[in-house]
């Protein structure tokens, strides 16, 4: 294991924060206080945590995200309380309550946004990679996209564009089993995403998305190769999401007990705990302490979001242009 104790604790904190953020949103959404659509990332934590920990904290490395963008935002380092206010549509939200869950972003730290358009982020990552190339920052652009986006023309064009210019892009397919209600095993023609990437001349690898260590190993290797000037890489991360496509989705398209079994036997946080406890690398106390700290943070975030006022009506027409 090539992570030290501090790095392991950071990774665990990241995954636990994502899980508690999403589980809590699931409960809060049911109370009717959260407007709009919310797409939750629970079950996919090892991807955001395992990949993004290899990126630099400044804006030179970037992340383009998906409909399911809370996890990536947390892993990049977005302010969790400001995120919660954003999702509640309140003053002080990360995007001043103009974006909401589906457009949450903090470009100042390289988080280019969740994206309401399936596949919308892939070409943005090519642009961020062009910036890195032209300005010679050494930056890497990570493009997360789902199994639905893998069949979008924009994604395929972006992969070709990244290849022909050897752009520093890591394409990360987060295959959570379903594009809305449609099974990825059916919708991805040819059946093997790694082969599809190979068709573009992009080297790829399939990774078990429940296994943080497998994800972060693959991502570390790919990002190093990209930084060394090797051009784009591809990772196919395979897992299942725990909740529906959106909150309120009855998920009748899923087999009975699929999620129950997934949670019971293949939960990425449980697997992480088992691994580090078995090797006596981290203590149970240290992990439990993180659980408590994260629980407090999420409680405070929800309390503050609920108490925050709605945004001023005067902001309806601001921020359309820099100048007009």
């Amino acid at each position: 294991m090539d992570l030290d104790q501090e790095q392991l604790l950071d990774a665990y904190r990241c995954m636990r924060t994502i899980r508690m953020f999403e589980d809590r949103l699931h409960d809060e959404f049911a109370t009717g206080q959260i407007p709009g659509f919310v797409h939750l990332y629970a079950g996919e934590e090892a991807s955001a945590a395992g990949v993004i920990r290899h990126l630099h904290a400044d804006e030179t490395d970037t992340v383009a995200s998906t409909h399911r963008g809370h996890g990536h935002s947390i892993a990049v380092g977005c302010d969790v309380k400001a995120m919660m206010k954003e999702i509640y549509g309140r003053k002080g939200g990360l995007c001043n309550a103009k974006g909401g869950s589906m457009h949450i972003a903090d470009v100042s730290i390289g988080m280019l946004g969740a994206n309401g358009i399936v596949g919308g982020g892939t070409s943005l990552s090519c642009g961020a990679a062009l910036t890195a190339k032209v300005k010679k920052t050494g930056g890497v652009a990570v493009s997360f996209f789902g199994d639905g986006a893998f069949n979008q023309g924009m994604t395929l064009e972006a992969m070709n564009f990244a290849r022909v210019y050897d752009l520093p892009v890591l394409f990360v397919l987060e295959d959570n089993g379903y594009a809305e209600s449609t099974a990825s095993s059916w919708s991805i023609g040819g059946g093997d995403p790694v082969q599809r990437a190979a068709g573009f001349g992009i080297r790829g690898e399939k990774v078990d998305g429940r296994d943080f260590f497998a994800v972060t190993h693959a991502a570390g290797e790919a990002i190093k190769a990209i930084r060394d000037g090797g051009g784009p890489r591809f990772i196919h991360i395979d897992f299942l999401r725990y909740y529906g496509h959106f909150e309120g989705d009855a998920t009748t398209y899923r087999p009975k007990n699929e999620v129950r079994d997934e949670r019971k036997y293949l939960d990425p946080l449980n697997l992480f705990r088992a691994r580090v406890l078995q090797g006596e690398i981290l203590s149970e106390d240290a992990l439990n302490r993180i659980d408590d700290e994260v629980a407090s943070l999420i409680d405070e975030a929800v309390d503050e979001a609920r108490e925050a006022p709605a945004p001023d009506l005067s902001t309806l027409t601001t921020d359309v242009y820099v100048s007009y």
């Binding site: 804006e59 970037t62 383009a64 939200g93 990360l94 995007c95 001043n96 309550a97 103009k98 974006g99 457009h103 972003a105 903090d106 470009v107 100042s108 280019l112 946004g113 309401g116 358009i117 919308g120 892939t122 070409s123 943005l124 990552s125 090519c126 642009g127 961020a128 990679a129 062009l130 910036t131 890195a132 190339k133 032209v134 300005k135 652009a141 023309g153 924009m154 064009e157 972006a158 070709n160 564009f161 022909v164 210019y165 601001t318 921020d319 359309v320 242009y321 820099v322 100048s323 007009y324």
Partner: protein, 336 residues
């Protein structure tokens, strides 16, 4: 003053800005030409030659020929702009907006608003438009109203080489995404253009000609048609005040209102289509805000509700002509 073509004026503007600011890059299909081929590099300089020589001068790290992948490279322009470059990307013909629509309408136009004003997206999308070259339905549209409809985008429609150079320099320096419309039938049009750098402001109409009898608003190629019409009308004693808004978004509606207050009559000449077009938009604004100053109904001179046809006689019948403008002005000035 030097006399140069529209395309040379654009070229001078882009060269000036690329020299001035190393963050300015060019992206597009064949903007150099010959990428990866065995022959000459910088073979085309764009489909009508507006970027000729820039690849040779600034090199492959500033000028990027792209595969025919509008989704990828217009999206990349948005992503590059939001991360610190000032890309100038060419969407070859505006009719192709559909294959890059997401990047244009959902990404670059919305970033600033969706992200609560915490970012900017300084990019220019150059695009060819307009009828008159026999290119027919899929290479001739005047889709500037579609972009004008979308908040977050600025829309520039220059009418002369002088305007083109100054507006392009303004566009590249602007911190918002700008859609820059270049009429394909005007690429070789010549005009006086100063050598040095200058800017033409957005949202300020140009008074092309002063007059007291009727206000004529025209933009892009229609300005030269309206000028011809105004000259003919002047011989009959009808003095038109001709305004060129220069940018459809922002629109200088104040200048139009002020002129209509003086003349009491408004004719709008627009090469875009009549339904939800720019003439309809201006007509609505003036009806709402200046109805009491009007002495006659507003007239729009536009194509009809059809696509751009191929046969030369049909194409000419489609485009607003000086004759149609004369007829429209006479209809509101009482025939004199």
């Amino acid at each position: 003053m030097p006399v140069i073509t529209f395309r040379e004026a654009l070229n001078a503007a882009m060269r000036n800005e690329m020299k001035r600011d190393e963050n300015v890059i060019l992206l597009g299909e064949d903007i150099a030409g010959g990428k990866g081929a065995g022959g000459q590099q910088d073979a085309w300089g764009g489909v009508l030659g507006a970027t000729a020589g820039l690849y040779t001068e600034f090199g492959p790290d500033r000028v990027f020929d792209t595969p025919i992948s509008e989704s990828a490279f217009i999206g990349a322009a948005a992503g590059a702009a939001v991360t610190g470059l000032r890309p100038v990307a060419q969407l070859m013909f505006v009719t192709f907006f559909g294959v890059a629509g997401d990047a244009l309408f959902n990404q670059m136009a919305k970033f600033r608003y969706m992200f609560g004003g915490k970012t900017k997206t300084p990019c220019v999308i150059r695009t060819l438009y307009g009828a008159g070259t026999g290119a027919a339905s899929q290479h001739s549209d005047c889709y500037y109203p579609i972009f004008t409809h979308v908040p977050g985008l600025k829309v520039v429609v220059p009418s002369t080489p002088y305007e083109a150079k100054g507006l392009m320099i303004s566009a590249i320096r602007d911190d918002d995404p700008v859609i820059f419309f270049e009429h394909q039938a005007m690429s070789g049009d010549k005009g006086e253009v100063p050598d040095g750098e200058y800017t033409v402001p957005f949202g300020e109409a140009r008074v092309v000609r002063e007059g007291k009898d009727a206000t004529v608003v025209a933009l892009g190629r229609m300005v030269q048609f309206a000028e011809k019409a105004a000259e003919e009308l002047a011989q009959d004693g009808v003095e038109c005040e001709l305004l060129d808004p220069r940018t459809a978004s922002p629109l200088d509606s104040d200048a139009i209102l002020k002129s209509v207050k003086k003349t009491g009559r408004l004719v709008i000449v627009d090469e875009s289509l009549p339904r939800c077009g720019l003439a309809s938009d201006i007509s609505a604004i003036i009806s709402e805000q200046g109805f009491h100053t009007l002495k006659a109904p507003i007239r729009r001179v536009t194509p009809q509700h059809n696509h751009v046809p191929f046969a030369p006689n049909l194409e000419q019948a489609h485009i607003p002509s000086p004759e149609k403008i004369v007829e429209a002005v006479k209809s509101v000035t009482g025939g004199k």
